[in-house]
């Protein structure tokens, strides 16, 4: 029986953690993810779960201890945001290269500077090449559902990689919405017990973790990581199918909203997709053929699948909630454009940077973007291929 509740994104992820009852959680406070370790600590204090919480002295140590615990054979996780993720950066690479299927609840917040606590994706995007699986949520329901799927994906023997479950800071993490929760028993059965094959605390079977990797072996190690990340794509879909069976909610690599006959598609990640969907509904009422492609899985990047989904559109607006400082566009803009080119889908593609450091993104912003795409295609209007939304002139 599904449980109907009202909670914030942070509460939802914490609730998922309670239901999973993982072994070890080291964490360090940072806005806006702080509530997650707080709520988990309260569950522990009240005896609702017996996870071991390590109140570490920094995020670097949080990820270091999570790695130590996971390598030792314990199902482990941490939570962070922004500068916390940046401080972990070195360790993110080690978690992935040591093939440790640990989880991280990321509550997306902009990176300094200047210091600002509000949402954008610069933290998660900054970690896009660290070898992690990255799954993003539009709302609290997805954050909860994605977190429940995290370990079955990461611990799959064909994957064995760390996984980042991302939600938008404040917009999702602190806003209270309706949510449907699974029964504890259902979750435990769905997630299952962690049974690592090789681990530090395997009695009588010692292992060594974290070698100096000589050049003669290092490259194969890196390629194996890449293969594992590719394997994750199918595993993510398989796990989603199993999740649908227990929850009734289906997930893919991305969600297509009214794209079937769409001439203009807006492609984005996270909570702003909800805003864009409203714009699509409004414009559809006016007879416009528009749709939204909301990317759920950013790593592994579903390049081919995205290109196919866009093949019959006239133009795509690629929205990045992150500046990449390469003088050429945001991270999503670059990767989607490359995907289109490589798969010979030669449609117009405009890259918009929006919502940095918590700047609002509204239905009218989305409508304006759709309007600009149409103007470009129908009237040959020259459009800046890489531009900012709602920038103060």
């Amino acid at each position: 029986m599904a449980i109907k509740e009202r909670m914030s994104g942070n509460e939802a992820v914490s609730y998922a953690i309670r239901q999973i009852n993982p072994d070890v959680m080291p964490a360090f406070p940072i806005t806006p993810s702080t509530e997650i370790p707080q709520i988990v600590s309260t569950y522990i204090a009240n005896g609702e779960i017996d996870t071991e919480f390590i109140p570490v002295e920094s995020e670097h140590s949080a990820m270091s201890a999570t790695i130590g615990a996971e390598a030792a054979g314990a199902r482990s996780l941490t939570a962070t945001s922004s500068a916390g993720l940046a401080l972990m950066w070195e360790e993110l690479l080690l978690a992935a290269s040591n093939r440790l299927p640990l989880a991280l609840a990321l509550v997306n917040r902009t990176l300094s500077g200047p210091i600002n606590i509000n949402c954008d994706h610069s933290d998660g995007m900054g970690a896009r090449d660290t070898g992690w699986i990255q799954i993003y949520a539009e709302n609290n329901q997805e954050a909860y559902d994605n977190f429940l799927q995290a370990y079955p994906i990461a611990e799959n023997p064909n994957v064995h990689l760390p996984i980042m479950i991302c939600q938008d800071g404040f917009i999702t993490s602190h806003a209270v919405e309706n949510i449907e929760l699974l029964e504890d028993e259902t979750v435990r059965e769905f997630v299952g017990e962690y049974q690592p094959e090789e681990y530090l605390l395997n009695p009588g079977k010692p292992i060594a973790v974290g070698p100096y990797s000589v050049s003669n072996y290092a490259m194969e190690g890196k390629k194996n990581q890449e293969i594992a990340l590719e394997n994750a794509k199918q595993v993510i879909l398989d796990v989603a199918e199993k999740f649908r069976a227990v929850s009734g909610r289906g997930y893919g690599l991305f969600e297509e909203y009214k794209t079937e006959d769409a001439e203009y598609i807006m492609l984005m990640i996270g909570s702003a997709a909800g805003t864009a969907k409203q714009a699509v509904d409004d414009l559809r009422d006016q007879g416009k053929k528009v749709g939204v492609l909301k990317l759920r899985v950013f790593r592994p990047f579903p390049a081919k699948e995205i290109a196919e989904a866009l093949r019959h559109a006239k133009a795509v607006a690629i929205l990045d909630r992150c500046e990449s400082y390469n003088g050429n566009g945001g991270p999503l803009g670059g990767e989607v454009s490359a995907a289109l080119f490589r798969n010979k889908v030669m449609i117009e593609a405009v890259n918009y940077i929006y919502g940095l450091a918590g700047r609002d993104f509204t239905v009218s912003d989305a409508c304006d973007i759709f309007g600009e795409l149409e103007d470009m295609v129908q009237n040959g209007k020259e459009v800046e291929q890489y531009q900012y939304v709602r920038l103060r002139k």
Partner: protein, 315 residues
């Protein structure tokens, strides 16, 4: 522990296999083997290691010299990494996922760079949280792995590659950090400072206490580095002896806040005796540099007096 016999403990199976690639006569491996000999044979261990000579030379894929489970993570986080391992042990025990009779001990090794400097925060966190582990610093007084750069453990006036002696320089300008004291101030149950003495009894007994005292423990072991210190490799035991007899490297322990001298030289030798054997201090013996030796001696005396004061205090 009173029936300590070097011969007996040397017959225990080695837990660091030969064939690793550390320099001949390296102090670090001598320290590691000595610490591991203090593990009771029936106990298993997980060894942690900060990045450094020891790590890159003992675990080069696909070979490892470690007989126990071993984890190297990065340079600055050996304390935090082993915190995670030790916590995993407690939770797996609690949840019945380890056999009742599986006893694991947790020991991590770091050089002075990974311990006094870049790893200090992580070490401090692990000590303050009281994980049941031993952090062993093998202190050779510089970043030897990257080529003898100064650390905060490098003694004053030492010639290193980032404090080179030259026309305008007499080597490192600052005194070394007193890390054992800093960790003792974390109020952990056990802290000790040691090095290689005659029959290794001091090191062995302290390692055993550190491993078998419940809670966080810290061992600071002076481990000469023939390359960085520039002495004749076979002279290592003489160097260690002089470090102790000059009171440059006093042997002491701090048990639950109680400071105790492990050894008091009958006649404290002048610091020159320790310095003269090492190429990194050669410039101190040049004509005109007599005052530097006086300054060095003053610092040794000051610290020795401070230590004696701490050890005399009632607790």
């Amino acid at each position: 522990m009173s029936d300590y016999s070097l011969k007996t403990i040397m017959n225990k199976p080695e837990r660091l296999a030969p064939g690793h690639r550390m320099c001949a006569g390296c102090g670090a491996t001598i320290a590691v083997r000595a610490v591991l000999r203090a593990l009771h044979e029936e106990d298993q261990a997980v060894i942690g290691n900060a990045t450094g000579c020891l790590e890159v030379s003992s675990f080069m894929y696909p070979y490892t010299a470690w007989e126990d489970s071993y984890i190297h993570n990065a340079f600055e986080n050996a304390g935090a990494t082993l915190s995670g391992v030790e916590t995993a042990y407690r939770v797996l025990k609690k949840r019945g996922r380890l056999p009742e009779d599986a006893n694991f001990k947790f020991i991590t090794f770091g050089g002075d760079g990974g311990t006094y400097d870049i790893g200090l925060q992580s070490l401090s966190g692990a000590m303050e949280r009281g994980h049941d582990m031993v952090y062993v610093c093998y202190d050779n007084g510089a970043y030897m792995n990257t080529g003898i750069q100064r650390s905060s453990a490098t003694p004053m006036y030492a010639d290193t590659t980032t404090t080179p002696v030259g026309k305008q320089s007499n080597g490192k300008m600052q005194n070394r950090k007193d890390l054992a004291s800093i960790i003792a101030d974390h109020d952990v149950p056990y802290v000790a400072q040691t090095t290689f003495t005659q029959n290794f009894a001091d090191l062995h007994q302290k390692a055993e206490k550190a491993i078998y005292t419940e809670g966080a423990a810290f061992l600071n072991i002076m481990t000469p580095c023939p390359r960085g210190w520039r002495y004749d490799t076979p002279e290592i035991m003489d160097i260690c002896k002089l470090a102790v007899e000059t009171c440059y490297w006093p042997l002491f322990e701090v048990e639950h806040g109680k400071w105790t001298l492990s050894y008091e030289p009958k006649k404290k030798l002048p610091i020159e005796d320790f310095l003269r054997m090492q190429g990194r201090f050669k410039h101190l013996f040049k004509k005109g540099n007599e005052d530097l030796l006086v300054q060095f001696q003053k610092e040794v005396d000051r610290r020795w007096e401070d230590l004696q004061y701490k050890c005399a205090r009632e607790r």
